[in-house]
């Protein structure tokens, strides 16, 4: 574990100034190919541990701080994600994938607990509290969805050895949870400026949730800089990839009606090009946007609490490109030539504009001059179901190491629901289409089988993929039949299976490039598992039919049991006699009455 922390050191040096100050925020814009724009918002507040323990929270959000104190959380990571990262076009993930989760909500935390039971109890109160705080169904992370990962996660903060021994890691995912505005509002409320000033004014549900990919992250961890007091740090991150064409649509007219014919961008070199025939050139034109256009508003000054030394807004484009800003902003160009930052006036609105690069002339636009080329990711991962039908299925994960000379080592973790019963013996690996013994690729397997209705399957594989090769990892599973009350209301949709988490381990060789010296991670997409689903009107019919049958059977049976059947001539004689006697008695009585009447008269 110690050696792991050493990888965090370069990471910490990078943000040295940030750690020292109490609050800082920064927005990094990065135009990506195919007319998209990555916007990474980062907000970070510190509270010294002693102050925190004395309930003096300062910039640390009080609501969250109290929850954390109450359940003894040492480190907490919460993710809300939507959409998918297109690694093929957009390259490596922002923050090396460390600040993103699988689709839906993902939560993992180190809790201080002596026993497993105590940890479970604390986890339950943590999920319930966070569920209220973030308007998410986190309380549905029950024991069947909770895992205790062994290899995939390591604490990011600096923990003293005494607490490390008692720290338990719990992890839960809700792949079905749809992230939306009701999650963003509480997220913004945690910020010191609460979205009223600074870069957080750009965050708006309409734009954020219209993004092609977005991830909201909260990380809370203790940081102990050398020679200084330990601080508890909360880092809130929002990453989103905006489709520029879609974002530029005005809010009052969001419908993508076909543009008028004369506004179309056409390829006029086509021989048939004319007024009514247009071969569209959608992406070839390069991107052009203004900040207030894509976000729908401009930055309202700066947050007064932020560290004035950190420029609040940076953009990663080649320095040769022109960028126009509103007056009063100071441009700071990074000497590497691919990034520049802006210091913006504290009380004026700020906006910037990236004009289109001319395709002709002295500086014709080329890919490298127009955009910073995205980095190749360390690993591509794609997961899908195989097979069809309601009885069995398979999962196939395609893992590609694009690097021509470096092998990649990572931990692949799946947490599967209990009704997906996997057969571990069917786990096979193919490299570049050829079956290879799995021991060549998989170095270590940690498997915790599922128990029906109690816990899900947890599978962690430590794997190593040779350079420039593609590994197919497949395994089979069987689908269980649920009890009919266990189906969700929209049962025929299927069941979401959480994303697989891939943690790329830091390279052990000392001369590895910087990108490989720290841990990075990525998630596959979620899957939709269709289980055999009953016709839910059927139980109703069955209840009606069985009730009818029982009613009929009971009536008949009861009748037979309590009645004695005898022939008409076998019955006791007094039956007829009794009737006669009664009739006789009645007529006697009537006669007497008549007689009495007569006497009176």
């Amino acid at each position: 574990m110690r050696h792991f922390f050493s990888y965090l050191i370069p990471f910490s040096i990078l943000f040295w100034t940030a750690i020292a100050s109490d609050y800082y925020e920064q927005l990094i814009l990065k135009p990506l190919p195919q007319s998209t724009l990555l916007a990474s918002f980062n907000f970070r507040s510190n509270a010294s541990l002693s102050q925190f323990e004395a309930h003096n929270f300062r910039y640390f959000p009080r609501s969250l701080g109290q929850v954390i104190q109450h359940v003894g959380t040492k480190e907490l990571h919460l993710r809300f994600s939507l959409g998918r990262w297109d690694a093929e076009s957009w390259g490596a993930r922002p923050w090396d994938g460390t600040k993103e989760g699988g689709t839906g909500v993902e939560l993992w935390a180190w809790l201080e607990a002596e026993t497993d039971e105590e940890a479970d109890r604390k986890w339950l109160s943590l999920t319930n509290a966070l569920s209220g705080l973030f308007c998410a169904s986190l309380n549905f992370i029950d024991e069947t969805r909770t895992t205790r990962p062994v290899m995939s996660f390591q604490p990011e903060g600096d923990h003293p050895n005494s607490t490390l021994a008692n720290m338990q890691l719990l992890h839960g995912v809700l792949p079905r949870e749809v992230v939306c505005t009701e999650n963003l509002t509480p997220f913004l409320k945690l910020l010191p400026c609460k979205g009223k000033a600074g870069i957080s004014t750009l965050l708006d549900g309409h734009k954020l949730f219209d993004a092609s990919w977005q991830s909201m992250a909260i990380d809370i961890r203790p940081i102990c800089p050398d020679g200084e007091e330990c601080v508890l740090q909360i880092e809130q991150t929002i990453d989103m990839v905006l489709d520029i064409e879609r974002s530029k649509r005005p809010r009052e007219n969001p419908i993508p009606r076909p543009p008028p014919g004369h506004d179309m961008k056409c390829n006029s070199s086509k021989p048939y090009h004319s007024d009514d025939t247009c071969f569209p050139t959608d992406f070839a034109e390069g991107q052009e946007w203004a900040l207030d256009q894509v976000f729908g508003k401009s930055v309202k000054g700066t947050c007064p609490l932020t560290d004035p030394d950190v420029p609040p807004l940076c953009i990663q484009v080649p320095n040769i490109r022109d960028i126009y800003t509103t007056a009063g902003a100071t441009e700071l160009k990074n000497p590497n030539g691919f990034s520049r930052c802006y210091k913006i006036p504290s009380d004026a609105d700020f906006s910037m504009m990236l004009p289109r690069m001319s395709q002709e002339g002295e500086d014709p636009a080329t890919n490298t001059r127009e955009l910073v080329q995205p980095e190749t990711p360390l690993l591509y991962a794609e997961r899908s179901f195989t097979g069809h039908g309601y009885e069995r299925g398979g999962v196939r994960t395609i893992l590609t190491n694009p690097s021509p000379d470096t092998e990649v080592e990572f931990v692949y973790m799946e947490s599967l629901p209990w009704f997906m019963r996997i057969y571990l013996h069917t786990l096979t690996t193919h490299i570049n289409g050829e079956a290879v013994p799995k021991n060549n690729i998989i170095e270590e397997i940690y498997y915790r089988p599922a128990l029906d209705r109690v816990r899900g399957t947890q599978l962690e594989l430590r794997m190593r993929i040779p350079p420039a090769s593609t590994v197919f990892l497949t395994y089979d599973f069987e689908k269980s039949i649920l009890r009919y009350t266990e189906y969700p209301p929209d049962a025929n949709r299927g069941f979401d299976v959480a994303a697989a988490i891939i943690t790329i381990l830091p390279s052990t060789s000392p001369d590895a490039p910087l990108a490989r010296q720290k841990a990075s991670s990525l998630r596959t997409t979620t899957l939709l598992l269709s289980l055999p689903t009953p016709d839910f009107s059927m139980p109703y019919n069955v209840i009606i039919f069985t009730s009818t049958v029982i009613a009929l059977a009971f009536g008949g049976m009861y009748n037979i049991l309590i009645r004695r059947f005898v022939g008409a001539d076998e019955g006791p004689e007094n039956v007829a006699g009794l009737k006669g006697k009664i009739i006789a008695a009645v007529s006697n009585l009537v006669g007497k009455l008549k007689g009495a009447k007569g006497k009176v008269d």
């Binding site: 959409g83 009514d276 247009c278 959608d282 794609e382 179901f385 049962a491 269709s530 689903t533």
Partner: protein
């Protein structure tokens, strides 16, 4: 009550009861046919309705149009320019267009072999990733380069390209949209769907390089016709007569008529009077295509994987242009996009009468079941009958006196005594003929295309001679020729199997079970003729020969105006590529039953036993 029970008990032993089953069987067949003919009446059908409320068909504004038509014209120029190009050149160009839209593109090779012919090609497909989705679900838009009639689907492909580009602009998609362009409408789509579900044979079909989530629906566009159109033809039959969810068809009809003012056409009936005769015609055409079980369009391959799919084809001469069809598809995709769950609410088993009326399985199934039941009733009756032996009352009198007074009244009638059933020969014969059925199945599915007609001719001749040879062998070349009881058992076993197969099939493919049952129904009444009736024997055998599978196949292909060679090639293609089981039903269910029936008719039961006993 006790009187009723004792009457029933008495009736149970009444030999007259055993005379009843043939009449019941006949009644079953007649009622089954009449039942089917009554179905198109309005009293027996129901109006269609949208059962899945999430679909909301026709409730959205469609915006496809305007300058998209300029794009459509440009794409059509691009597509036209590729008319004489090879499959790979076409795919190169389409890949370029898709990539220009910012989509992920995949290609897939396939090579199928059937009847000695090779069907090879390359599919190209593009995935429009749902802007905010995560690859859990997908809907498919198919535009085959060539339609089933081998016509160049130029407007279809161009329209699909334009629509894909248009869909890319929207951010509301909850499902990925996959656009597939197979080079033909028969093999390519099957290869793609198989590979998507990893059910493909790796030797013939390549795996897909990129995939999306679970398929929720598919629409195929068959728009080879030029000029304006009046209605859309909805082809809905899947392979093996499986059908898509009725909600999907209803949505098309609803959007086309309610929103677009287009007509919709089913089963090729361009003018539908919505009267009895057109209703019956629609049902019959629907049943025929269901019974044949072949693919009716690129959509058919999806249906066995429980992906609801349709093929839309503009027909007629009207005022709607390609933009109208595009808006219809946009409306449908918006409806499918609304789905939270897979289409499951409405019917999967139905017969459409016209676009607004249908018959559900509960109403139509009895007709096929009655026809299947006629075999079972006869089989059971024969089994019971074979366990007794009728004895002449005159010879039986001494015995009759011994019985108790209560049964004396039966004395005057022929009495029956229990006899042992000799089942070895009947079982062997029936099982043997069932296995023999695999011979034609294998031969017709493996013969090279050029030899199909001669092989069929030889088979038809052999088939005509086979029952006679078998009968001669049975009656004179084995030590103990079959007794009347054994003939009864042979027929009983054969009919029992036929009844069982057909009633099971009726739930899967109603039309096939009905048609096979109807043509095979004379087998219920096949019986051996005594030697005095030799003329009747051969007349009966000749009549049965007219209803033998090869003769029916020949007659059917003559009626339909296609060569028998074409029919056999299609059947082999269906078996080898689509997994169509119609040949299996014909050669392994119907043909053995027919063979046994013919042997029974030609049978000459030995009378020795009877004489001996007497």
């Amino acid at each position: 009550m006790p009187r009723l029970i004792s009457a029933a008990m008495a009736l149970r032993r009444d030999p007259r009861l055993l005379k009843l089953p043939p009449y019941i069987s006949l009644l079953c067949v007649l009622v089954g046919v009449v039942w089917l003919v009554l179905l198109p009446l309005d009293q027996y059908s129901r109006r269609t309705y949208i059962s899945e409320n999430a679909l909301l068909p026709g409730q959205v504004h469609t915006y496809f149009g305007g300058s998209d038509q300029h794009v459509f014209r440009a794409y059509r120029h691009e597509v036209d320019a590729l008319l004489n190009s090879t499959n790979v050149q076409v795919n190169d160009e389409l890949e370029k267009i898709f990539k220009g839209m910012g989509l992920k593109v995949g290609r897939q090779n396939y090579t199928y072999h059937s009847s000695g012919e090779t069907y090879t090609g390359e599919n190209v497909y593009a995935i429009l990733q749902a802007p905010r989705g995560d690859a859990t679900e997908a809907i498919v838009l198919v535009a085959a380069w060539k339609n089933l009639e081998e016509e160049f689907n130029r407007n279809g492909v161009a329209l699909a390209l334009t629509l894909t580009r248009y869909f890319k602009r929207w951010s509301l998609w909850s499902k990925d949209i996959i656009m597939v362009v197979p080079p033909d409408s028969r093999a390519g789509m099957q290869a793609w769907v198989d590979a998507y579900h990893d059910a493909h044979d790796g030797a013939q079909v390549a795996a897909l390089p990129i995939k999306s989530g679970a398929l929720q629906g598919a629409l195929a566009l068959d728009y080879a016709q030029d000029g304006r159109f009046d209605s859309v033809h909805i082809a809905y039959d899947g392979v093996n007569g499986q059908l898509p969810n009725l909600d999907l068809i209803n949505s098309v009809v609803n959007i086309a008529s309610g929103q677009m003012g287009m007509g919709s056409v089913l089963q090729g009936l361009l003018r539908h009077s919505q009267k009895y005769d057109d209703n019956l015609r629609t049902v019959m055409r629907g049943m025929l295509s269901q019974a044949l079980g072949r693919a009716e369009g690129p959509h058919s391959c999806f249906i066995p994987y429980h992906v609801d799919a349709l093929t839309l084809k503009p027909v007629g001469n009207g005022w709607h242009d390609e933009m109208g069809l595009g808006r219809l598809i946009e409306g449908l995709f918006r409806s499918l996009n609304n789905l939270l769950e897979k289409l499951h609410q409405s019917f999967f088993f139905y017969l459409l009468i016209h676009k607004h009326r249908f018959v559900s399985i509960g109403t139509y199934l009895p007709s096929a079941m009655l026809i299947a039941a006629n075999f079972t009733i006869m089989a059971i009756a024969l089994w019971v009958k074979s366990g007794y032996k009728e004895v002449e009352p005159a010879q039986d009198k001494p015995k009759a006196e011994e019985v108790k007074d209560g049964e004396e009244k039966t004395e005057a009638m022929p009495r029956s005594v229990v006899v042992e059933r000799q089942t070895l020969l009947p079982l062997t014969l029936v099982a043997g003929s069932q296995f023999l059925g695999f011979v034609p199945l294998f031969v017709f599915n493996q013969t090279p295309s050029s030899l199909l007609t001669p092989v069929f001719a030889i088979f038809t001749i052999l088939n005509a001679a086979l029952p006679h040879l078998a009968s001669v062998f049975l009656t004179s070349h084995i030590s103990q020729p079959p007794s009347p009881q054994q003939y009864q058992l042979i027929k009983s076993f054969s009919l029992l199997l036929l009844g069982m197969f057909l009633s099971a099939l009726a739930t899967l493919n109603f039309a096939l079970a009905f048609l096979v049952g109807l043509i095979a129904s004379p087998l219920t009444f096949s019986r051996p003729w005594a030697d005095e009736w030799i003329g009747a024997r051969y007349a009966h055998a000749a009549a049965l020969h007219l209803l033998s599978p090869p003769v029916v196949v020949l007659g059917g292909s003559l009626l339909a105006g296609v060569g028998v060679h074409e029919v056999l090639r299609e059947a082999a293609f269906g078996w080898n590529v689509w997994g169509m089981y119609t040949p299996l039903i014909i050669w392994c269910v119907w043909w053995p039953a027919w063979l046994v029936g013919e042997i029974v008719v030609l049978g000459r039961p030995r009378d020795g036993e009877k004489e001996k006993k007497a």
